[in-house]
């Protein structure tokens, strides 16, 4: 299987998943309504609490929270859906290579997160006067797709876990708030106990939000962008290895929960 073929599979998977996701009520809820409502809560809190100058920071954080929710529930949901429909076995057996098939879908789940950031910024600027001036526009525009890539690949790692463990889906509910906290999307990690921060270093959203925030508010986004890309490569490697293991195991044991 050539890389060119693989990339075509990714592209097709991405297009199909995007179409499916944007037409579901889940999409509207998780990518637009939830981020907007959480952003609103946060706006009221920081304004009433007297923490001035944090509106853009808050809007961006809430937007990224939305990208993570979309990726988390999207990746798990896609796998559960395939399993429920009985097509998971077919995917695993597909000659195209499961990693490419999954990659297109998980990238789609994080891509719809772009609506989340757009929504929180738009909503914030209209109703809360969030200033939309960005310190480094070009790097800002780069940081966003890089973040989406990083989160999508983290979604790939999640998806492979969901393929392996049938009930891992119940854990998705458990990974929403903790990741928001540990990666410092809204609440600075400095406010949390010291042992939390190192966990966040291995999660793409930590660097993604740093990249986006420094690009918007001032600072040097490049190290964060680099870290996000490095983690993305790591996730791709992990995902590919996990899938290879899985293919081997499923052929050896034939007892893995594919239905």
């Amino acid at each position: 299987m050539t890389v060119a073929h693989g990339l075509r599979v990714v592209r097709t998977g991405w297009l199909v998943s995007m179409k499916e996701l944007t037409h579901s009520s889940f999409f509207v809820l998780v990518s637009i309504l939830q981020p907007v409502i959480f952003a609103t809560i946060a706006f009221f809190m920081v304004e009433a609490g007297g923490r001035s100058g944090t509106l853009l920071y808050t809007a961006l954080g809430a937007g990224l929270m939305g990208i993570w929710s979309a990726t988390l529930f999207g990746s798990g949901g896609l796998i559960q859906w395939e399993r429920y429909q009985g097509t998971l076995e077919l995917l695993v057996a597909a000659p195209a290579g499961l990693v490419f098939v999954l990659l297109g879908s998980t990238l789609a789940t994080s891509s719809i997160g772009i609506y989340a950031i757009g929504a929180t910024l738009l909503w914030g600027s209209i109703f809360f006067g969030v200033p939309l001036d960005v310190a480094h526009p070009l790097l800002f525009v780069i940081a966003i797709p890089v973040t989406i890539l990083g989160l999508g690949l983290l979604g790939l790692v999640l998806a492979t876990t969901f393929v392996l463990y049938r009930h891992a889906n119940a854990l998705s509910n458990l990974l929403e708030y903790p990741v928001w906290l540990v990666t410092g999307l809204l609440v600075p990690v400095s406010l949390l106990p010291g042992w939390v921060a190192p966990i966040g270093w291995f999660l793409a959203p930590t660097w993604g939000i740093k990249a986006i925030r420094t690009a918007a508010l001032g600072g040097d986004p490049l190290p964060a962008i680099g870290a996000t890309l490095a983690l993305s490569a790591l996730y791709l490697g992990l995902g590919a290895i996990a899938i290879k293991q899985f293919e081997r195991l499923s052929r050896e044991r034939a007892t893995l929960a594919l239905t």
Binding site: S25, A48, R51, A170, V187, L191
Partner: protein
Amino acid sequence: MSASPVGLPQSSPPVAFLRTFFVGGVIAYRALFNWIRPSIYIPTMLGGPLFQILFFSYLGRFSGLRDDTFFVVGNAVQVCSMSSIYGATMTLANERYFGTLASLLATPANRAALFLGRTFPVIANGLFVSVFGFAVGAVFLDFDLAASALPSLAIVVLITVVSCTGFGMLLGAIGLRMRDVFFVSNLAYFVMLLFCGVNVPLEELPGWMQAIGRSLPLTHGIAAAREIASGGSLAGVSGLVRAEALVGAIYAAGAYGLFRFFETSSRRSASLENF
């Protein structure tokens, strides 16, 4: 098998009512509540609320808005919605999913017993989740409650959970006809985080949002709970408690009314997509 024209002896109406309510209520809950298995219950009903309380409390510290107690009380009461909204929606709407409505409505069972019987496991579950929420606050955050305040707090929380369950049953009744009612339940959950004074004091919201908040469950109950937590008495919050009970009663009446309406209308009407 007998050939008697009256069939097997049936319980007297009051006994039948109570049995439908209690035994039937518990069995229906087990049949319809999706998250009953421990492997799903623990992460969803306990894990989620735990981190929600931590998240908003830390966000509260960051914003400098109020102390931990404010956020712990608000969120610990609100997380009953995991049962009172999601669980309540399931215990009605899932009948549609399983296609059991026709069999249910073909029985002579008392409709009020049928409906109300499902609420008490929902309420018990909601209460449990809220208590867990308070425990989380006590263990991980700066939340201390005087032992003397516990009984009053328990009463306020109980009334609030019942009230919220009434609202949840309304959503469940809507789910008997609406296909994607869980979208509405999810939306209700987030909306209540914003409008009910859970994380933003009601007085900080614009007037129209306050009005919406006051017409929703949780709002008055949370305010009462906060007063109790800061040393107030049950008598002092009686106005708030009555308001919460009234709001809940209105939603509960609406829920039962809608449930009965759907039953009569599907017998009488109109569309071909009956059950």
